[in-house]
Symmetry: C2
Subunit: 187 residues, 2 copies
């Protein structure tokens, strides 16, 4: 069982790196070589290339949930504690070896894989339920999550990271997560 | 001159479609074939593949500026008129034939082309100056632009478009563009 988990991990990480750089056209042979496993070994764990890519998408979704859970402050019991974890997870330096443009390319490439749209719809429902339970006004949830998602794109659109801008955005979003009711001045 | 402009347009549009779907590994031959021009004709207008991709990035930057300018209400003379154009342009249905995940893939792929980082840094300065002149508080500019950018990603991360969510986000961002001073409740 431990070997199975380890082989699956090696293959998923290799697939993430290659799809991020080359798109979903990358061959099973190349993924197996990058992972250091045989092609038949790879296909024993993942039935097909599409199945591997779908499980890679599931893995990325779960990794993001875990990073948000890990970023929630256990002493924070106020409304908005989950969204503060979401903001902090989004703005933390990623621990893996993909650049932000590679992350985006990976997400965009996987969006075309059969089953990924259903996975993302289900995950969207899961986040919506979790944010409902988090107790913050829905307009604040909408604004904070979209701005956090947009900030994760900023380095891509700006040609270089801007740490001061990221710091200020994070500070503003955390402040907005502490307010009650709708945003002032909105309909 | 008119033929030059027409050929350049055909090549840039073909390159956009192919890079969005296949990344920057796509060959000059395939781009020429997709554009319906000869390879030597293509290389007469664009010296190399990297030069073509850099000019494609410049073209996309200019197209977005024009779409924002076209979305500014000429009767609107209040502070924030430019950012209201930015929001309206971002949320308008795109008129071209790329999906939102293809647009993102295109931007991510071009980010690795020599010269594109400098182009994006220069464009970031241009937007910063334009928003300074627009007269809205910088915290509002930061929040509105990041949330608009994030909303353009939403369909990619959610598996399907959510028109009601987009409509509400747009409404909130436009309302925030009418307020004076910093956002209430922020440091």
């Amino acid at each position: 069982m431990r070997d199975t988990a380890r082989t699956r991990r090696l293959v998923l990480d290799a697939a993430a790196r290659l799809v991020a750089r080359q798109g979903t056209g990358v061959s099973i042979d190349l993924i197996a070589r990058e992972a250091g496993v045989s092609k038949s070994g790879l296909l024993h764990h993942f039935r097909s290339r599409d199945q591997l890519f779908l499980e890679l998408a599931e893995d990325l979704v779960e990794q993001f949930h875990r990073s948000v859970e890990a970023a929630v402050d256990p002493r924070d019991h106020a409304a908005g504690r989950l969204i503060r974890g979401y903001v902090n997870a989004t703005f933390s330096a990623t621990t893996d070896d993909l650049t932000s443009s590679e992350h985006i390319t990976l997400a965009a490439a996987l969006s075309g894989v059969p089953g990924v749209d259903a996975l993302m719809r289900e995950d969207t429902r899961r986040w919506a339920e979790a944010f409902d339970a988090d107790g913050l006004h829905p307009d604040r949830v909408l604004l904070i999550t979209q701005a956090a998602d947009g900030a994760s794109l900023a380095a891509l659109y700006e040609g270089e990271p801007n740490p001061e801008k990221l710091r200020r955005t994070r500070e503003l979003l955390l402040a907005l997560s502490h307010g009650e009711g709708p945003l002032q001045g909105t309909p």
